[in-house]
Symmetry: C2
Subunit: 525 residues, 2 copies
Amino acid sequence: MPDNQSAASLNYQLHYSNRQTPENISYEEAFSTKEFRKISDIVVASLEQYLQQIDPVCGLNLTEPAILIEKARSLMTHESEEIAAFDETRLRDIIELYTKTGIQVHSKGYMGRQFSGVLPLSGIFDLVNATVNQPSSFYEAAQLPNVAELIMQNELNKFIGYTDNSFAMVTTSGGSLANLTALLSARNYKYPNVWNSGLHRLHENAIPAVAISENAHYSIKRAIGIMGIGEDQLVKLPVNGKNQIDSSKVESCLKKAREQGLRVFCMVASACTTDTGSFDPLDELAAIAQEHDSWLHVDGAHGASLLLSEKHRHKLKGLEKADSFIWDAHKMLFTPGTCTLLFYKNKERSYGAFRQEASYVFEKQADIYTSLDSGEQNFECTKRPVIMNLWVSWAMHGKAVFSKKIDHLCHLANQAWNILLHEGDFQVIHEPQANILCFRYTPANLDLQTNKHFQLYIRNKIKEEGRFFISKVEVNGEEALRVVFMNHEIEMIHFRMLLQEIRKTGQEMIISQTNIQHQAIPISQ
Amino acid sequence: MPDNQSAASLNYQLHYSNRQTPENISYEEAFSTKEFRKISDIVVASLEQYLQQIDPVCGLNLTEPAILIEKARSLMTHESEEIAAFDETRLRDIIELYTKTGIQVHSKGYMGRQFSGVLPLSGIFDLVNATVNQPSSFYEAAQLPNVAELIMQNELNKFIGYTDNSFAMVTTSGGSLANLTALLSARNYKYPNVWNSGLHRLHENAIPAVAISENAHYSIKRAIGIMGIGEDQLVKLPVNGKNQIDSSKVESCLKKAREQGLRVFCMVASACTTDTGSFDPLDELAAIAQEHDSWLHVDGAHGASLLLSEKHRHKLKGLEKADSFIWDAHKMLFTPGTCTLLFYKNKERSYGAFRQEASYVFEKQADIYTSLDSGEQNFECTKRPVIMNLWVSWAMHGKAVFSKKIDHLCHLANQAWNILLHEGDFQVIHEPQANILCFRYTPANLDLQTNKHFQLYIRNKIKEEGRFFISKVEVNGEEALRVVFMNHEIEMIHFRMLLQEIRKTGQEMIISQTNIQHQAIPISQ
C-alpha cells in the first residue's frame, strides 16, 4: 500500500467506550430537519476532504475482511433501547473508512473497470433523490422524473435516429435488468401465449433459441437461463480477428440451428463487448435478423455513449434498426450506479415484457397523467428516479460535458495502444475501438509451461501492491491484462509507470520461479 | 391545490435567454472538487429550505405533463458544443420544481403509499455512495459495503432466528428483483437441469407450478411469467376473512393441483400483503410446504420490519422456517429506494439462482477476499452499495430509531380503525395488522347503481384537490379506500380532517349525480 496516511487511517482506536457519547435523542429528532442540516454539513466536508487528499497514483487498499469487520464493528453504537444521537467524529470515521477502503476511482492508478468518479453535479443530485424519495414508475408519485424521461428520450434520439414519437425509452436499475427486460419483450412478442402457457406447455415444433456472440456479457446468458429458454438453446455466433461477430458466418450458423430443431427468435449484438470493447456490425446483423424474423437486441451498456461523439458515432451504425438496445448512463455518462436506458424501436412493444394486475397501483383507464406511468414497462414497482442525475447534468452543463470526456478517454486508449506496439516485451491484443485495451506481458525469459497463469498473477499482485488497479480477462481462452480508461486525468506517463510495475512484478515472479525450480529439482530426484 | 406559494412557484419565467449565463467551463472543471463543494452547498441549502417550508397538510400538486415539460425545458441550457458552468439560480429552480411537484411525503396529508420521508442520515448517505461510487457485487470494489452486509445479516438475524453461519443474506435493488431471485433459486433447486435444458425440454411428467395467495404482490405473478413457468400454472390459495391464506384449505388445493398434473414446487406467503397489510400464517404454511417438498418463500417486503418490534414480532412467527424471504429497507426502515434484503435459510441455496462465467469479473478460485463477493448470488453486475444507508443508520442511531417509529405507525392505524368503527357512514374493512387500513365511504344516500366507482372517484378527486393523498385498492373485487401511515407526524386530527374531506367530496358527487338524473329523465322519456 503506497499511502502511509491511509494505512494509518485504518488503525482506529475508536471503540465507543473511549468516546464521549452524545445524549440519546427521540426518533422525532432523528427524523428532523435540524438533523438533516447538521449531518449534511459533516458529510459534505468529509467528502470534500477526501476528494482533495486523493493519492495521485493509487489503486486499492485491500484489507482482510476479518480486520475490516472488526473496525466497522468498533464504529457501531451500543445495543440499546434508546436512540443514539449521531456522534460527529464517528460519522467522519465511517466515511473515512468507506472512502479509504474503496477503489480509488479518482486516482490515476485506477484503470481497471467501467465505473468512474462521477460528474459532481450528477453524484450530488442523489442527495436530492434520496431526500424527496419519489418512486418513478408512476407519474403521480414522481412528476418531474417522468417528464425528464420524456425529454431525455428525445434529446438522445437526436443521436440515435429512431422515427419521432414511434419509439420508447424506459429507465431501469442496471444493464442486466434492461437486457432481461428486452429479451422478455422479444420472447413474449414472438410467442404471444408464453406468458400464460409457460414454456413447458408451449406447443411449438421448433425449440425457442437465442443467438449471441461468444463474447456477449454474462447478463445475456443469465437472461436465457432465467427466462426458461435454457442455456443449451444458446446459438453461439463466431467472431472475427477484431472480436466482432463475423457477419459472413451468421447465415450458416442460423441454418445449422434450424436443422437442429431450433428457432432463433432473437439475436443479441454487443456495442461494445465488455472484454475488449469491440463493436459488432449492427447494420449487417439488422439485415440478417429481419430476414430471419428475429428480434435484434443490442447490448450497448458501455458503448452506446459513443453516439454522443462526432468522431466515434460511426461505430454504432445501424443501431436505429435494432428492435431494442440498452445504454448505461452509469458507465460513460458518469452518473452514479445505476441508471440504464432501454430503448425500443417500436413503442408498443415496450409494453410487452410483463403483464400485471394490481389494483393498488395500476389504473384500468389511462388519463393524461397515468399515460406517462412506466410501471407496466419496467420491472421495478418502486424505482429510483435514476433519470434525474442524467437529466440535471444534461440540462445544466449540456451534452458536451459527456462527449468531450468520452473523446478524451478513447484517445487515451489509442495512445496506450501505440506505446505497446513499440514495446517488444508486450503483446497488444487489439487496436482499441473504445476506451478498453487488452494486452499481455510476454518477456523473452517467460516460460509458459511454468507460468500458466502469469498474466493473472501479475494482475493480482499489482492489485495487492495497491499502486495500480487493472483487470484481467480471457481473450480466445487465454488470460490477458485489461485496462479501461475512465479517469481523464490519466496521462501516458501513468500508463508507462504501469508498464514498469508490470515488468518489475513479472520479472520478480520469473526469478523466484527459477529459484524454486533449482531448489525443487534435488528434492524430487 | 392548497398551497398558493407552490402554485406560484410553477410559474417560472426563467428561460435561459433572460438570464445572465455564467461563462463556459472545461470538462475538467465540471469534474473538479471545487465544483463538488459549490454544488453541494447549493443543494443542501435548497433541501433544507424545502424541508422547513413544507405545507403541514398537503397531498400532491398534480401538474399536466405538457405544462411540466415546458417548464422543465425552460430550465435547460442551450444546445452547444461548449460546457455551460452551472447556474446557481437555475439549479435552485430545478430542485424547487422537483420537490414541489412530488408527493409530499413529509406532510401530514400524505397517507397513501409505502414509501416515506427517509431518515435524514440514511438519505444523506446516498451522497457518499454516489461520490465514492463503489459497486458492491465484488469485495475488491466495495470492501466496506460487503463487510456491512455481513454485519447487518447477523444483526438482523437476532430477530429472525436462523441458525448462525448457515443462512445467507443478499442485497438487491428492490423487492421485485428479490422475489424473482428467490423464486429462481427455488426453481433451479427443484429442477437442477432447467437452467441448461430450459422448460420446453424439461422431461417431467408433472408441470411445474407455484402456489400463491390471491392477494400476493404483482411481482410474484410477474416472476412466474418471466421464469417461463406461465401464469396458468399459478395455484391460487384461498384467504380467510382477515385476507390471510386459509391454511385449512391449502391441502385440498394442493391435492386438486396434483390431480390436474401440476407439481407445486414452491409456495409463496405474504408478510404482509400490500393491499390490506395481512400476515399469512407462516408457521402452518411452513409445515405444509415441508410435507409437500415445496420451497416456502415469504414476501416480507413491507412487514418483515415488524420483526424489530417487541409488540408486533409475533405476526411473523414461523418466518425462520421459510426457505427464503425478502425485506425492503426502503419501506419500513426508512432508507431511500431501493434496498431489499433477501434471506435464505440455507446459505448454499443462495448460490442457486444464477449461473455464469465471465472472466473479467469472476474468479475460478475464491480467496479470503473473493469469497465475500455476492456477484454470483445477486442479479446485478454493477450494484449500488444499498446496504450502506441502512448499516450507517443502524451503526450510528441503533435499532430503536426504527422500532419506535414502526410501533407508532401501527398504533396510528389502530387508532384510525377505532375511529371508523364508530362512524356510521363509513365501512371499515379490517382490523389493521400493520400500518395499512382499508375502508369505504358508504353514506345512507349512496346509490351504488348510479355510483359504481364511488370509492375510486373519491380517491381521485381528493388527489386532485391536493390536500390529502390516499390510495385505492380492490378488496374481494370491490373498490375501497386505503391509507398507509408512514409519517409519524400524523395525528388523529389529520385523519378526521381526511374523513371530512371524503364526506364533502362524496356528498358533492351524490348531489351532482342526483341533479343529472333529474335532468336526464325528461330527455330519455
